[in-house]
Symmetry: C2
Subunit: 506 residues, 2 copies
């Protein structure tokens, strides 16, 4: 085939993908709007708009036209001639096309209805701590997911197919290894921390902090961390999130609690970390299906890097604590920066994942991972989950939920069928620590940059190494390219050991 | 053809129209977002999203599928069997289909590019008062519009075809009559007002009014006028507007000026009036192409009714002036409600349409109408516009622009090719006065309802008579059904005479 014909076909393929991205951008804006103040009486009609646009995106991703593009460009001769961006675009389309085509449409439609019903049922069941009200839904969801796995196919463990949706290339074998290594160190470290007589004083956090001032401080920190307000905005919402419409419009939301200054503070930095990733994707990728973070784990590594490695560091507060004291004049005047630092790094086993600290968070994730793995290998039945959950919480964290609402029913994920998602959070912590280790070598003045409030070089390093690539590189390629080795949990272990033996004087 | 087949075809036609409405809703949300705070670096990509979705809507409105629906349902036998909503839906689709099909696609595309360039050129020309920089664009736009009129066809005056786009059924013959009658009374009334020794004192308006308090007062007035905040929201913007996404989500924007309390106050009520119309369209019309105000003129009648007939009435301020004084405690304590009322009803010829009062506004519109009519009958060349503009301003208003920026270049409309739009504003004033005349008969306690702040019965009357019908009825049908006669300028004349002879003691 002549070069001219191939190029024309490539242009037309790219225009096709761009159109899908444009529809997705419209959908993302609608979701942002629905979560930040859309009037409630318009929601029903708006949901139908989302449904219509989503249907069109799905139709395009599985159309005969897409099939023809994928068939044509994945012929070896054609694929080899493509530039790297086009090649990766084709392979991503193929992955999605193949996945979607393997599920009969009516089966998928039924699954969408099921998860939508299950989400309502879950909300109700959580509220009432009524496991029995949710169990039948979850059983159907797990059974359907099992069917889907058979249709999609799998290598090794069935759960690998689910993991791959959120963290391409991730496997049970790898997770068992890295989570095992992490748990082996984290559990004893937690024991030593709990036994320490040196517990941080947190009493001063228990007071009212003016919301206007919290907002002003959040905005100031976002500017310092190089969040670009000409390419984003900060709004309020009940469940904070970041959403990337395009790299020039990456919005974050936060929640200001009058009696908890740390919620908005670290929540904003966390979402800001997600946003920095998306704001700094190469303009070469705009309008392609590569214009987003490469995986949930790498994404989470950035939110957690900024929230924890930077935002909960001693250096950061050496620089900004004076500003915080000035902002809340008269409220924390007598609290030293060291006491503040220790208070925001308080470690304590708890029941609720989303409120967990930097160390125990990983244990919450491992519990969910073990249970999900068991569900798909068949060693755990849905009916066994509450008991298995409580046993794991006792084993890993030494706590037992008083009811299922604060236990097995606490997270929304399973009601939406999002199995394989949870590990991303702990992977994010591991990636973050591993990146930090390299970053410290390549920017030897890392600590003093933070202490000076000069965060730009750190953002630039991450842009060069991670952000700009979007989905052009896989998570494995990124971690390998940047750090010279595959994912290694030792960096997180070392980071936690070093930080918390100091915080707790152990 | 069997009833079953016809019904199935009707369902499929309605689903097709609903899909177009859904795309339009997404587009409207994007525009709202771009005008209320979308980050500027994302605008370019977002504009492409709008372009893609708009292209799809246009494609659907002119597709062979649409053509087949229109052909099928406009066969006499079929059309007569349809229920009123379906019939009107078909006729609206046919009107748009026929209009669009008559313009060759490449010609229309070139026109879109031309108006987009012209809008930039206009902005620049207005800023520099540089008529010569804009004239060539306007000449091309007028010439293209002339061509389009030939393709679309026309009855009577060529300009009728343009008028019909904004005010279905409106003609030059009718406008000449109603504008003539209005001008004949308005110009002498203006003369008497200007000659009155009894000019309102406006000095107290020239002070700083806290923006937070302005906002609080605006929100309170919107609630009083029955704007439903569960079906809308108020935001800030540079050029205030109302946008209806669906009847459950009708948003308004306003602008707070620190040194001009009247801008946000009356601007908010004005946009609130537009919004009341859209919020109260019958739910039967949701998802159809009839779910919007029936014409620009009827729409404007509602914004102006609420802004002027209600919001600038003596009764309204008898009810709310105390609240205004309390809101701005210490700032207008010594100003009587009567002095306030007279100040906000100050009449003065001016150069700028959008700043004009209730009386002279109509004269600004008539000037534009005369010029547009001349452009399309061929009696005025584009090159003659500045001189013709200035002569008309001297004749109607007794003022002469010092430069074209404050004269012929002041409005954006012509740069977008929106000829025939301006008359809507003055039609709105006439319709509003005519509706008010009937309303006063049917709600004899109209004045005391306002004085009591009991605006609900007024909104309910308008909902029953006007709002609920959306585009199901034409402007002519509405004014005839509600008032028992066709558009009649005498009601506006009588309203202005009665109100302003009192305000100015003449």
């Amino acid at each position: 085939m002549s070069v001219g014909v191939v190029n024309a076909k490539l242009e037309s393929f790219k225009a096709y993908v761009r159109k899908m991205k444009q529809y997705e951008e419209a959908i993302s804006l609608i979701y942002w709007d629905m979560r930040t103040g859309a009037p409630k009486k318009g929601i029903e009609t708006r949901s139908e708009v989302v449904g219509e646009l989503s249907t069109e995106v799905f139709r395009m991703s599985t159309s005969d036209e897409m099939g023809a593009y994928v068939d044509f460009f994945t012929q070896t001769a054609e694929l080899e001639q493509l530039d790297p961006i086009s090649r990766k675009m084709v392979l991503e389309c193929k992955k999605e096309y193949d996945r979607s085509k393997k599920i009969p449409a009516e089966k998928y439609q039924a699954y969408v209805v099921l998860t939508s019903q299950a989400e309502s049922a879950w909300e109700d069941a959580k509220h009432k701590s009524d496991w029995a009200g949710f169990q039948p839904y979850l059983e159907k969801i797990v059974a359907t997911t099992q069917e889907f796995i058979e249709l999609w196919g799998y290598e090794g463990h069935k759960y690998n197919t689910l993991l791959d949706m959120y963290e391409p290339g991730m496997t049970v074998e790898k997770l068992d290894e890295v989570f095992g290594a992490l748990r082996e160190k984290a559990v004893p470290l937690l024991g030593r921390i709990q036994a320490s007589p040196n517990q941080p004083n947190r009493a001063f956090l228990d007071q009212q902090f003016d919301i206007g001032k919290q907002k002003q401080f959040s905005l100031s920190i976002l500017k310092q961390m190089q969040y670009d307000f000409e390419a984003g905005r900060l709004d309020e919402t009940v469940h904070p999130f970041a959403t990337a419409l395009n790299p020039g419009d990456v919005r974050i939301t936060t929640r200001y609690l009058p009696n908890d200054i740390t919620s908005a503070l670290f929540g904003t930095i966390h979402e800001g970390g997600h946003a920095l990733y998306e704001q700094n994707i190469s303009t070469d990728l705009v309008g392609t299906n590569l214009c987003s973070g490469t995986s949930m784990g790498i994404h989470e590594s950035q939110s957690r890097f900024w929230e924890n490695v930077i935002g909960r560091s001693k250096q950061f507060w050496e620089r900004y604590y004076g500003e915080l004291q000035t902002t809340f004049a008269g409220q924390i005047d007598d609290v030293s920066v060291d006491d503040f630092y220790r208070a925001i790094n308080h470690i304590e086993p708890s029941l609720i994942r989303i409120e967990a600290d930097e160390l125990t968070y990983n244990l919450h994730i491992m519990i969910r991972y073990e249970l999900e793995k068991g569900l798909f290998s068949g060693t755990i039945a849905v009916a066994d989950l509450p008991a298995a959950w409580n046993a794991k919480y006792e084993e890993y964290l030494g706590v037992t939920p008083p009811n299922d609402g604060e236990g097995v029913l606490q997270d929304v994920h399973w009601s939406g069928g999002a199995f394989g998602y949870f590990p991303s959070y702990a992977l994010g912590n591991m990636y973050a620590a591993q990146f930090t280790n390299t970053l410290r070598k390549e920017l030897p003045n890392f600590d003093s940059l933070i202490a000076e409030g000069n965060l730009a070089p750190i953002k630039e390093w991450l842009t060069e190494k991670v952000y700009q690539h979007g989905k052009l590189l896989t998570p494995n390629e990124i971690i390998q390219n940047v750090t010279g080795e595959a994912l290694n949990p030792d960096y997180l272990v070392a980071y936690l050991e070093e930080k918390y033996t100091k915080v707790y004087g152990i």
